[in-house]
Symmetry: C2
Subunit: 211 residues, 2 copies
């Protein structure tokens, strides 16, 4: 088992990936930690320190090859493989995510939508069928699912999460406004939109008070 890498570092990796992708699009071939630090508004030291958690991707006197580093970070983030995704909760948010095609380019493929609302049964979003929750066991028997996106209201989310884990799901992208209590081997990533909005609100109020 490799040494544990702090979540602070992990959180920065997608941002590096994004900037390197832009550099690649701009036809930039090599970049030094210093140049990159100016663009990204972080220290060059942090960039080198972060990358060296995963390996020595650079070369003294030269810097980093953009293409190579981009691909390596992609691999670190698991973007070199396909992730099959189901969306549990086919309301507005679930449908919006299902319609978002950019994820697919990165290997995140939505293969099914699920809901409890019978009014949605048989409908589909961008060609992806909406199933009822009771079809889930059969669905998971016949195909691999790597990630379940949880976009149910919080009253239904806890129970659905437990069901998902019971059926063998090991990764949940949780949009419900609660902390899921699940076994340790289940990976959960939370998107708490209202927390984010409150943070914004705090910063607005503070700016006004400071004046």
């Amino acid at each position: 088992m490799q040494k544990e890498i702090s979540q602070a570092v992990i959180r920065r990796m997608p941002r590096y990936y994004r900037y390197l992708g832009e550099l690649l699009d701009d036809g930039v071939e090599r970049i030094s930690s210093n140049e990159l630090s100016v663009r990204m508004k972080v220290t060059a030291s942090q960039i080198r320190q972060d990358l060296n958690n995963f390996g020595g991707f650079g070369q003294q006197g030269y810097g980093y090859n953009v293409q190579y580093l981009y691909e390596e970070i992609g691999k670190i983030l698991g973007l070199d493989r396909q992730h099959n995704i189901i969306v549990v909760g086919a309301g507005n948010m679930g449908q919006a995510l299902a319609n978002y095609v950019k994820f697919e380019k990165r290997g995140f493929v939505i293969t099914g939508l699920f809901d409890v609302n019978p009014a949605l049964a048989g409908l589909s979003v961008r060609g992806i069928e909406i199933h009822m929750m009771d079809e889930l066991p059969e669905f998971l028997k016949t195909q691999r699912v790597d990630i379940a996106v949880l976009t149910l209201p919080k009253e239904k989310a806890e129970q659905a999460a437990e069901k998902l884990v019971e059926l063998g799901i090991h990764a949940i992208w949780n949009f419900a406004h609660l902390d899921l209590e699940l076994p340790d081997d289940v990976v959960v990533e939370n998107v708490h939109l209202s927390d984010s909005l409150m943070q914004l609100s705090y910063n607005i109020v503070r700016r006004q008070d400071d004046k």
Copy 2:
């Protein structure tokens, strides 16, 4: 001007608010930092340290009054006032957010949707009209807008953000997949969904590799 409070602390405040709200719903009158720490899986020390950034809300030998603390954190987060919001980008994500009524309960009221796509002109979501971007100056002249939600694709987002700031917007909730370069007095809160998904992906891959 009060002393600067770290963003690490701010990020935790909405979570305290959520747990206190649940306690309130459960009819709990008082709670000690220790009891709360068990529920929230953080240290009691951190709770007391965090809260004391804003004031002494507790009482020795008693703990914290749930109702009182809930309200005080609400005030800190600016939930005691109304925030008028416009959504710029009336695609799937914009419409999903406009349909999400829970924000309204916390004082975040969406008063208009904007887009550049003429096909959407005149339509409305949950009674909120979709305007064209060129109506924005007039709209902002006639009513107060505190927050602009940016749900445009990244190619259009930068320009729209500049326009918004030019027209007097000081707070942006940014869902576009880029870092906005805006003046210091503009508050930006980012929701980078693909970053979040990549973090999840990283943790999935790592768990598999560890085995």
